[in-house]
Structures are given as structure tokens and as C-alpha cells.
């Protein structure tokens, strides 16, 4: 089954920070638009899952997570499709609660009606 594995620390930055592009070089919007959304489109086309590896990041601010993952819903992806094609993993004890925080950010996000319309 096709799929994509993305390590935030290796494929993006060890220091994710900020929400929008104006907030710095390793922001949530950039991660979503350049890394996550293309991978998600690919697995939705070909089937499979996007696996996000959280290991080795030096902190995960909620603003980054909400924009990166909650922003998928606002940018037009269906919430149920995201949840069924996304897998979040970590082997590090200090990051164990983040999969649930990411899933909560996706659940709480609302579609951008202006974009959908």
C-alpha cells in the first residue's frame, strides 16, 4: 500500500515555530503547504497513509500544530479523510501526548466556508 513517511525533525525542522510564514522560517503554514498537504493529496489519490514522525523535535508549540494540521481542514481537506489517512508516531516518552493533541486540533478545526464557497 502506498504511503508517505514524514519526520518533522528531519524533513522540515527540529525547531518548528510559529503559525504563518511571517512568523519565521519553520512555521506551520509552510509545513502544511509544502510538506503535509502534497503528501496527503498523494495518499488520497493512490491510497495509503501519511505517517508523521514526531521524534527529535525540540518542542512543539500548539500554534504550529494547529496551523499545520487543523489548517488542512480549513484548506479544503475532508476531516474524516484526514483522520483515516493520517498516522502519528513517536518513540520518545516526552512526545507521547502529541498524537492526541494533533488529532484534537483536526477534530476542532472548521472548514473555511469562504474557500469552500
Amino acid at each position: 500500500m502506498a504511503g508517505a513517511t514524514i519526520s518533522i525533525a528531519r524533513n522540515f525542522s527540529r525547531y518548528p515555530s510559529g503559525r504563518f510564514r511571517s512568523d519565521g522560517p519553520h512555521n506551520g503554514q509552510k509545513f502544511r503547504e509544502e510538506v503535509l498537504a502534497p503528501a496527503m493529496r498523494e495518499v488520497l489519490r493512490k491510497s495509503g497513509k501519511v505517517t508523521i514522525i514526531l521524534d527529535d523535535v525540540a518542542g512543539l508549540p500548539a500554534s504550529f500544530l494547529e496551523e499545520a494540521f487543523g489548517g488542512l481542514v480549513r484548506s479544503g481537506f475532508d476531516k474524516n479523510e484526514i483522520l483515516s489517512h493520517l498516522n502519528i508516531e513517536t518513540s520518545q516518552l516526552r512526545l507521547q501526548r502529541y498524537p492526541s493533541q494533533i488529532l484534537a486540533a483536526i477534530e476542532k478545526a472548521l472548514p473555511d466556508l469562504a474557500r469552500a464557497g
Partner: protein, 185 residues
């Protein structure tokens, strides 16, 4: 009167077992108390730093270059401290969450997620961030919720009934792991 050896032996075994169980429970209580105190102290520090951060005036309110540099430094310092404390809270909780009853683990994680969202969500690390009294208040509220949930969870896990349930959960886990090992899964 001749000594009833089996009765004496049974009494001795029971005595040792009771003492052993009580000592084990005391050790567990004392270990937990220190872990929970460390977590609580760190939570207080994180709450204070995050409240200060969200009440600080935005960078755009400064016009003098030296003021801008000093303010940028203050904001950067607070952001790094807050992220560091968030990581340490995550680590501390991960170290002792396994000691809590299963039903309590999820609620603690949700409360910590809520605290983290209040502390580092919204416009955290944004150059255009405004001071936000409501976020500062949310942080205080979320911190209180987490503290209450933590104390209640520890209390219920350390109670006599909670201790028995904890031991049964561990036994169940051990049995499941053994069965999986035997079946080669």
C-alpha cells in the same frame, strides 16, 4: 502447649506479606509525592511565565530601536522558557502516568493538552502577536484544571481500592503480554 507449626508458619507468612505490602505502598506513595511535587512546581513556573508572555505588549508598540531590541530579547527568552517548560512537563508526566489508573490517564492527557493549547496556541511566536488578557486567564484556568485532575488522579490511584485496581490492571497487562509472547505475535 505444643506449638502448632503450620499455624505459626502461616501467621509468619501473613505477617511478612502484610508488612511487605504496606512498605511497598508507602514507597509508592513517597515516590509519587516527590514526582507530583516536581510536576506541580514546574506547572506553577510555566503558568507564571506564560501569563507574563501573553500580557506583554506587542513588539509593534515599541518605536525606539534599543527598546525594540530589548523587547525582542524578552519575548524570545519567554518563548524559549515556555517551550522548555512544556517539554519538561511532558517528560515528567510521561514518567509517572503509567502509575495512574487506566481511566485517569486519558483525562490527565486531555487537561495537559488544554493547558498546552492555551499556553502555546493562538498567536504564540507570531511577530504580530497582541497582548491577550483572555489567553492569560485561560492559562490560569487550564493550569488549575490540570492541577485538580492530577491530585484527584493520584489520590484515587493511591487509595486502597485504587491500589487493588492498579495491581489487577498490571496483572492483566502482564497476562496479555505473556499470551502474545507465547502466540508469537
Amino acid at each position: 502447649m505444643p506449638a502448632d507449626i503450620p499455624q505459626l508458619a502461616a501467621g509468619a507468612v501473613l505477617g511478612f506479606a502484610s508488612t511487605g505490602i504496606i512498605r511497598w505502598w508507602q514507597y509508592r506513595r513517597d515516590l509519587w509525592t516527590s514526582e507530583v511535587e516536581r510536576f506541580t512546581d514546574l506547572l506553577e513556573a510555566a503558568t507564571e511565565s506564560a501569563t507574563e508572555y501573553w500580557l506583554k505588549s506587542p513588539l509593534t508598540s515599541k518605536t525606539d530601536q534599543s527598546e525594540i531590541e530589548e523587547h525582542t530579547f524578552d519575548l524570545d527568552m519567554l518563548e524559549i522558557k515556555i517551550l522548555g517548560m512544556q517539554s519538561r512537563l511532558d517528560g515528567l508526566l510521561a514518567c509517572f502516568i503509567g502509575q495512574l489508573l487506566f481511566q485517569r490517564r486519558n483525562s490527565i492527557t486531555v487537561k495537559l493538552n488544554d493547558f498546552s493549547s492555551a499556553m502555546t496556541g493562538g498567536e504564540f511566536q507570531s511577530k504580530n502577536r497582541n497582548s491577550d488578557v483572555n489567553t492569560a486567564r485561560s492559562i490560569q484556568a487550564a493550569s488549575a484544571e490540570l492541577l485538580i485532575e492530577l491530585r484527584l488522579s493520584v489520590k484515587s490511584s493511591l487509595s486502597p481500592v485504587g491500589t487493588i485496581i492498579y495491581l489487577l490492571e498490571r496483572l492483566g497487562f502482564f497476562v496479555r503480554s505473556s499470551v502474545k509472547g507465547i502466540l508469537g505475535q
